[in-house]
Symmetry: C2
Subunit: 340 residues, 2 copies
């Protein structure tokens, strides 16, 4: 019942510990006969590899880390799971960290990555103030991938999409429909760069169309149904004339919550007010009406990032690995021209 070590196996198979280690990790280096003998001994005695010892001598743990600001959004989970699926085929487990928009917490979690010498980090957003610390980690030799955003003109690894132009396109679509008062509700743009870029996309669409910016039509809330509901209520309480005729939510959760608020008030979407989202979660198409939104390739992001890291580790490809994926406007039924 007490645990066997490679030393025990070595003795039992009449080889050295080095040979046992090779049987486990570089079988091609061994004579088939030797290999077989060692492997048989391992099986027979149900030897369990001690990864703690292995990690220490390699000075690197084959564990990965992913950092997510919140997981209320099912969409982020898709990236997490696609990533896990990709890397677990290579035997890499992944530690999932919820930073919860908390810079202090995020930093603690980032520090653990160094203490544990993780093989790679994936960041779906990060707190701006921690960037220097992230740089330090990268210099320390842990590859970091930024997800859900692009950082062109830098040496950072990233797999994401152009948040600004995606938001620009949606805002333009709304303005093109004839809306003058288009509101924007972001999922924490003050803290998350990629959401700030969406805000910028919205602003530049306004500018390009010559529409005025109205600060009272720009809001921010964590991406939950309930917050969408609340924000929408507050819009609906504005007096007609200053009340937005279209609202662009930078998250489907918010948008879907908002649709419920409209329903509650007996307001027809899109006849009386247009609602657009961002993400394309599975529920978007089940909305009533089906939600016009921005398609985000969340699974592809996870897969690609996982693959890039595996290549970086196994084939020693130095990078930087950078990829900007396509998003697209999903025009469905929740947006229409404003009433005259």
């Amino acid at each position: 019942m007490s645990k066997l070590t490679i030393g025990d196996i070595a003795r039992l198979a009449d080889v050295s510990t080095a040979t046992v280690s090779r049987a486990l990790h570089s079988p091609h280096l061994l004579r088939p006969e030797t290999l077989r003998r060692v492997l048989d001994t391992i099986d027979e005695h149900k030897y369990i590899y001690n990864a703690l010892a292995g990690d220490l001598s390699k000075q690197k743990s084959s564990v990965l880390g992913i950092y997510v600001p919140t997981v209320e959004s099912a969409k982020l989970s898709e990236t997490v799971f696609a990533l896990q699926e990709t890397v677990q085929a290579h035997g890499y487990p992944v530690i999932v960290n919820n930073t919860n928009f908390n810079a202090e917490l995020e930093k603690t979690q980032l520090r653990q990555a160094r203490e544990r010498s993780l093989s790679g980090l994936f960041l779906i957003g990060y707190m701006r103030e921690n960037l220097p610390y992230i740089d330090e980690i990268i210099r320390g030799g842990i590859p970091c991938f930024f997800l859900w955003d692009t950082l062109p003109g830098t040496d950072y690894n990233y797999v994401g999409f152009d948040n600004q132009s995606a938001a620009y396109n949606m805002a333009s679509h709304l303005l093109g429909l004839g809306h003058q008062l288009v509101a924007f509700v972001g999922a924490m743009q003050s803290q998350i760069d990629r959401v700030r870029k969406r805000l910028n996309g919205y602003l530049s669409a306004l500018e390009q169309r010559g529409a005025p910016v109205r600060p009272e039509l720009i809001r921010e809330a964590p991406p939950t149904l309930e917050n969408g509901y609340r924000v929408m209520e507050s819009f609906l309480n504005m007096k007609p004339g200053s009340r937005p005729t279209a609202v662009f939510f930078a998250s489907d959760m918010l948008a879907l919550g908002a649709m419920a608020a409209c329903r509650q008030r007996g307001l027809q979407v899109p006849e009386e007010i247009s609602i657009a989202g961002f993400d394309n979660i599975e529920f978007a198409i089940y909305g009533q009406p089906a939600l016009t939104t921005v398609y985000v390739p969340s699974r592809e992001i996870g897969q690609l990032a996982g693959r890039f890291l595996m290549e970086a580790i196994q084939r020693g490809e130095p990078g930087p690995h950078q990829r900007c994926l396509e998003t697209s406007l999903l025009i469905r039924e929740s947006c229409a021209p404003p009433r005259r």
Copy 2:
């Protein structure tokens, strides 16, 4: 830039490595003056603790593992995140494994837990055939907690609820409304014990009411909106008379997908058909109509399980830790008496 070890710190602070180690983990053992000197040196030189070495010498990694069959269900994520929140306050990161209803994969992931000597495991469901292997892990000294289910009469740790009686109650509610043809759609009851218990609850409600069991009204599908949609379509294609007048879905995702199928066919819920769910995901209340479902205390499960493990580790409480939480029927608008 090269990494410092406690040996370096010891030399710089003119103490032994044992003292540095104590400063880090058992500061109360040191004279305040010594402690201060060591801590200052650590700060000054930005020493980073090497958890790989620490884990090896303690022969135990302060990492936890959680095993989830699928994460399409937002509800399971709630448990995962509540758990993480609870344990991360104690400095324990958690590896999240998606077993994806795949016994082979689950076993590989379980083996990694042993290789890495994790400090604790949480299983939200597991493949039946892997139970002997889980037993082996427990005997090997890694505490395991079964979540989302109860295992009364055993020595296993669990934090869950009574799936059978919860399902029994919902099925009884439907039958009590006057439905004769109540269908049951499970999220993989053939593979997941807790879902099988829900099926049993449904069956015993039928029996208790003297309602016949109709095999064609019992279905199984992974818990996604799309599957709910499809299964419902197939029910709606049955000829009236044999078609169910109420459907009990063992997952809100399925139920909400089914509501969309009804809408698509122009069928009124609950006037023409009743639909019930299980989970109470946030979307349930935003359904049209609001979904009648079973409340599952997913966050409490995660919190409690995390707390139990921390107590087991830190205060050495041996357990078994067992807790059956309450569920409740959430009667909303999606169920009504059948049409005559």
